[in-house]
Symmetry: C2
Subunit: 571 residues, 2 copies
Amino acid sequence: MALRARALYDFSSENPGELSVKENEVLTLYSEQDIDGWLEGTNSRGQRGLFPASYVEILRNDAASSSVNSCSTSGEPRYSNIPAGGFESKTENFSKPSAPSFGTFTVPQHQQPSQGSDDDWDDDWDDSSTVADEPGTVAGRYTDHEGNGPSTYRVSTSSSRANAQQQTRSSATVGRNLNRFSTFVKSGGEAFVLGEASGFVKDGDKICVVMGEYGPEWQENPYPFTCTIDDPTKQTKFKGMKSYISYKLTPTHTHIQVNRRYKHFDWLYARLAEKFPVISVPHLPEKQATGRFEEDFISKRRKGLIWWMNHMTSHPVLARCDVFQHFLMSNSTDEKAWKKGKRKAEKDEMVGANFFLTISTPPAPLDFQDVESKIDGFKTFTKRMDDSSLQLNATVNEFARKQISGFKKEYQKVGMSFKALSQAFEMDQQVYSSGLNLAISFTGDAYESIGEYFSEQPSKDLDPVMDLLALYQGHLANFPDIIHVQKGALTKVKESQKHVEEGKMDRTQAEGIHERCNIISCATLAEIQHFHQIRVRDFRAQMQHYLQQQIAFFQKVTGKLEEALKKYDNV
Amino acid sequence: MALRARALYDFSSENPGELSVKENEVLTLYSEQDIDGWLEGTNSRGQRGLFPASYVEILRNDAASSSVNSCSTSGEPRYSNIPAGGFESKTENFSKPSAPSFGTFTVPQHQQPSQGSDDDWDDDWDDSSTVADEPGTVAGRYTDHEGNGPSTYRVSTSSSRANAQQQTRSSATVGRNLNRFSTFVKSGGEAFVLGEASGFVKDGDKICVVMGEYGPEWQENPYPFTCTIDDPTKQTKFKGMKSYISYKLTPTHTHIQVNRRYKHFDWLYARLAEKFPVISVPHLPEKQATGRFEEDFISKRRKGLIWWMNHMTSHPVLARCDVFQHFLMSNSTDEKAWKKGKRKAEKDEMVGANFFLTISTPPAPLDFQDVESKIDGFKTFTKRMDDSSLQLNATVNEFARKQISGFKKEYQKVGMSFKALSQAFEMDQQVYSSGLNLAISFTGDAYESIGEYFSEQPSKDLDPVMDLLALYQGHLANFPDIIHVQKGALTKVKESQKHVEEGKMDRTQAEGIHERCNIISCATLAEIQHFHQIRVRDFRAQMQHYLQQQIAFFQKVTGKLEEALKKYDNV
């Protein structure tokens, strides 16, 4: 019997080889195995082509067999793109899934596993296909089918860190949060505060918060390094039907170049966001629906990745973590080594609640009142910074647009009018005015050039400002969740104190909660401190760069005008 | 019996002391004698005030007595503002007369004589009242009542030199132009070519055209001078009800300061335009309907007058002519001397046709084919220059507007956004970032300043360009008439040659026409040569000035940015 699928949504082909499908249309499949998120099939009119696997449901008698899972490390059923009854109600909570390669979504989505292709490094992912979320030791992930299964990263709501959700097994006297969608719960913060996290912390995993001049801070990376991102090159695969861009990464601590694709960054991002509940993992530059291979986009993405890499290598914790080191160092041609590291990262136990186990704090516990006031101050600060960054971004964006269109047009119109005047003057039949005519003509050209200068300038000074703002807008979107985790912990402390006073909890247990809240608070304040430090560093550098570019621009304009002025000397 | 007048048009009072009147409203007058073109009267509601004399007709039994004329030097009836039956039909050919002081017309109008006030130097004129056109030796001026009586100067049509109209008395065999409105006729060119002009040319009136490197040119002024225009001050008169601006003129050849009002310039302009048929008399800066006493306008008019004066003193013929010298030298406090010179100028016989009598030409007569080709080339040139000046003027005007509004706004928006960011950053509670916050705030201020620079700049560089273009647009409007006169003369030559061939004219008469056409051609080519020379001089200087100002502007912007950049040094 032919394998068939029913379209869940309309899909319009945008590239050769793709097949448009209509909702409810039944298609004949060649294989139920998707390639890069695409299935190949034939419609009733005999047309053959590729369509997104997530746009169809495979029709079969036995719904249970839909759970295609090549991963045997866990007995948990994995979330699949095959609806199995509950799919449609679930998708109501999220937007219609996008086509894997040319979709418009901007966040790594986890609703579409790479069925059975975990081990197939070369062919399993495209830029917008996603990686399998292999259930590690944290049980029950994605088993919840009431709406929070396929979560999304990097949305501007507070659900952006909703990855490391923990099913708690204990029944502590301090009550658990009833809202299982709360970031505090999902991040593992609650589980950790309630003493439910456990794991063996290797020496290499230990993360130190030290007391610095301005409060708790992450211990500096004793081996700081940076990493360059060069030469994005286009590669093709899948008989040339699918292409991708490969970036050359060269970390300064190895000096060995590795090739990485955007999807590798995406995979890394997912690991980091899952692992670190109170660290602001920089957001990746956004995906783009179309024109992925256009030079402008490639150049822009590369710049975004450079900023991202800069924030990664600048972060004392992120820079040193295993998965990032694996990403930077694993030889791109040695598939086995890569896969080994990839699996290891995906099985990392020290994620979410367990991450807090790895943190060692300064000897003196923090004054929670002081912490609370600092956190509240920071909350106010991030709100203001977010508002003013948005405003600046809008202004700068408009300013760039004006320079590219309006300013350019005005200067060029002036240039053209001067040239028209010089052309009229050339008809004067007077030999003694030819010098003037040439000079005016040159002035016209100068103004046309200045128009060009204006239109070229934003890419040199305003675009980098916007890139920086985009990165910081990502951080600012992370912090509400980070603050939420800390505030959740503090609430538990207050509750536990009350319980102790009411005799419902013994003092030791409350002290444990207090101690663990201290760990979360130290980590949160260290992260805030780190944020301020890189912010001052980045904005200082960026403002300097912007002003230097502006000065160079106005000097160039001045130089052009001086050149024009000289033409009148011997007129 | 009370003196009464009927309103011919609606008049809305715009200033204290003025009285609004409705068309056909009957007003009681205090006197039929207007003051500065204003009459004082009372309406039916008992309201008293001033209204323009030209807006009303005085009601009386004897229409003949309407011809109020204090000038006894001629027996010819003078054109008056009192309708005398034919007024209304005549005004249909022209626009409704404007209020004398606050009218919007931009040309000196001659339809309103200063009734009996010729001798009253202090009170006879306001800026927009006009001077009596005293009929001189040229008979019949303004006696034609068929529509071309009140002519206007400085309109962009070819009627702009329609002043020195001549009624011819001879009946030459070369036919006269049937179109008596033709510039050739009105300028006196035809009368001169036909040998109808006669007069005694004093040595001092002689004007030489010499053969220069590039063809005929005006003999240089052996005593070149310039004249400064300073300190426009507001003066009041008429019990403070009327005000005017007085300019201080200091010619370099006398070093004696004289005070002149716009109306004096206006009077002078009328004399010059009447006197010189083939000389492009620079147009005065335009009048303004309202805001005559606002600083901007006064400053702008002064600049316009400076340009005008520059073109007057630069012109070898205009600079030396008696009426201009009288204007520059007559002591403003010695009324008698002024009036004497004024009357003398108004009685000048060497105007129009007779002007050509004063011209002496180079010994070798011109080749008329060569002249025709040069004139045609110049005609093409003026058309192109007119088009491109108009285009440049529109562009520059728009560019100024953009800088004052759009550019300023964009830079200030950027400035404000930087300041908002610095204000947000000030909430960060981090001591180490205060330097950055101050630097960003300073950068914000710098961008707000740059916005101001942009809005202030056009008055420094674009406005002077527009002033220059306005002056040249005036010249370009003059040349069609000048060319017309020369072409008319050339046509007469061709006609006369034909007539000689046909035996209708004797050779001597034809030679006279040829000779007189040579005089007109020499003068025309000399004027064209002069135009090109000052054009090259003016545009060279103006373009240099513009570029220098632009360079200074961009350097100022650069300096401001460098100042801002320095603030980041110790951050």
